[in-house]
Amino acid sequence: MKRAEQEAYERDYAQAKKEGKPFFPYAIYKDHIVAILVFAAIIGMAIWQRVGVGPPVYTATSTFEPRPEWYFFFLFQMLKIFKNQNALLPVIMATFIVPNLLMGLLIATPFIDQRAERRISKRPFALSVAVLVFVGIGWLTYQGETGAVPVSGGAITFTGITPGSAAAAGQTIFANSGCTSCHMIKGSGGQVGPNLTNVGTLGKTSTYAGTIPVKVPGVKGPVYSGENWFVLHTECPTCATPGSAMPAFANFTAKEYQQLATFLNGLGTTYK
């Protein structure tokens, strides 16, 4: 804003104040009416929609859904939009670049918009930005609210898996370890992580150079691919996929890692 415009505003505001009314009681009574209505709404909701408690942490149940509070749905939803691109950059887009850019723009708003005009009818660009941001956040929140698909237990059947095989053991571990709460397989499961129905066809490789904490015989570098990649990824997701948001599962036995990897590596090819 130009100096002259600032001074004009100060003159105008001083005039408005001179013709004005004292804060107490003329504004404060309105404030209190609204605050009392808000309190009543909060108490009403607390009575009407009782809070519950979900299953405790660390149980083997597979029918929970890791979801944040609704006001973070838009961030989670953004992660889903970028996640399936599978390159490193897009994930950082959703987790870091976009949120920080929005935060920076939010803080910088008064320094970006320096025009003196205050009437929204004369600020078409500002109005469109506001509408876009609110509709965008609202839409992503709605998507996050309705996008969840119910998790059905271990009832999924695959062609190609014979009872008693390593792959069958792997499927059981998968169903009992909470994997399904984040991953969808054949239309059932959560959506925090990618859909794993065809994960075996992706040909994942890694040239991770460090040592992995749990030694599984035969699984070593320089290049991890096929089943070895799945062992590495389960044990240490960030080793196989830098920046991975998946929690590490470091407490399986060597045999269990191997069985799980056999199951995962065959998904989409041998096991459908």
């Binding site: 504004a27 929609q49 809070v51 408690v53 405790p56 942490v57 944040p68 205050r118 909470g178």
Partner: protein, 276 residues
């Protein structure tokens, strides 16, 4: 003798007045309160300008319900879940206090967003209120962090894994990400100290920050005064008068009330631009 004069003050009134006088002489409390309450604001303010106060009042409610919850909650991985169940199912009114704290959190987020929208649409972030906006934006970020840290405390599956993912996402941010995640988690993985660290952040660190910034925010709001809605009758009247004056000035400079006609230099074909 005026009708409000009802004789000498009783001993209680006298002591009260003396105490007020004593404090004011030393702390200037009366001056400050008078400055805050009796300052003039524009005569026409909108109901949308009550949203900030409503957010602040809700923060107060969260503080009170949070204190009550803290009397029963145990920030330890082995007992957190059962203490939440105890509050919900056994403590008298416990379910209500917990429900109010949970719904209050949602209400506060909604109120802060609506308040921000009104500030934006009124153009209230413009000179001289830029810093009010900046302190507000920082408040918004802190309020979101309250939601994140409070969610884990219930220690159920949903909240636990959602927070694990959120922490891993934090750790994936370039350069500072891993350090921030380590600080929040009290280590490079979720561990028994993570819960008590979240608890401390949720009920001591961020509330302290929010209280400080609400103080700054409110000081700026009362020092600069609340904006007048751009369509207030007085503002429109002032704008009309200004425009009329500008028109009058333009008329004075152009005789017969016509706009000046610009004539191109003679070297080129003469072109007359008619004013619209």
């Amino acid at each position: 003798m005026s009708t409000t004069d009802i004789g000498p003050k009783g001993p209680v009134g006298q002591v009260g007045e003396a105490v007020v006088e004593y404090v004011d002489r030393r702390a200037g409390a009366k001056t400050g309160i008078t400055w805050f309450l009796k300052r003039n604001i524009p005569s026409e303010t909108s109901w949308f300008q009550t949203l900030g106060f409503a957010a602040m009042a809700t923060f107060g409610l969260q503080a009170v319900t949070g204190m009550i919850l803290a009397m029963y909650y145990k920030p330890d991985p082995t007992t957190a879940y059962s203490s939440i169940q105890h509050i919900t199912n056994e403590v008298t009114w416990g379910w209500l206090v917990r429900g109010m704290h949970k719904w209050g959190a949602s209400a506060m987020i909604i109120l802060v967003f609506l308040h921000m929208a009104r500030v934006f649409l009124f153009g209230s972030y413009k000179y001289p209120r830029e810093l009010t906006w900046v302190t507000g934006a920082i408040l918004l970020i802190m309020v979101m962090f309250m939601g994140l840290t409070g969610y884990l405390l219930v220690w159920d599956q949903r909240a636990y894994w959602a927070t694990v993912v959120a922490m891993n996402i934090t750790a994936s941010a370039p350069i500072i990400g891993p350090y921030i995640a380590d600080i929040l988690r009290a280590g490079s993985n979720f561990n028994p100290d993570t819960l008590s660290r979240f608890y401390s952040i949720h009920m001591l660190v961020i509330p302290g920050g929010i209280a400080t910034f609400i103080g700054l925010h409110l000081f700026l709001v009362s020092k600069l005064g609340i904006t007048e809605p751009p369509w207030a009758k007085r503002a429109m009247r002032a704008r009309r008068a200004e425009e009329a004056a500008a028109r009058a000035a333009a008329r004075e400079r152009a005789p017969q009330g016509r706009r000046e006609v610009t004539v191109a230099p003679a070297t080129q074909p003469v072109k007359v631009e008619a004013g619209q």
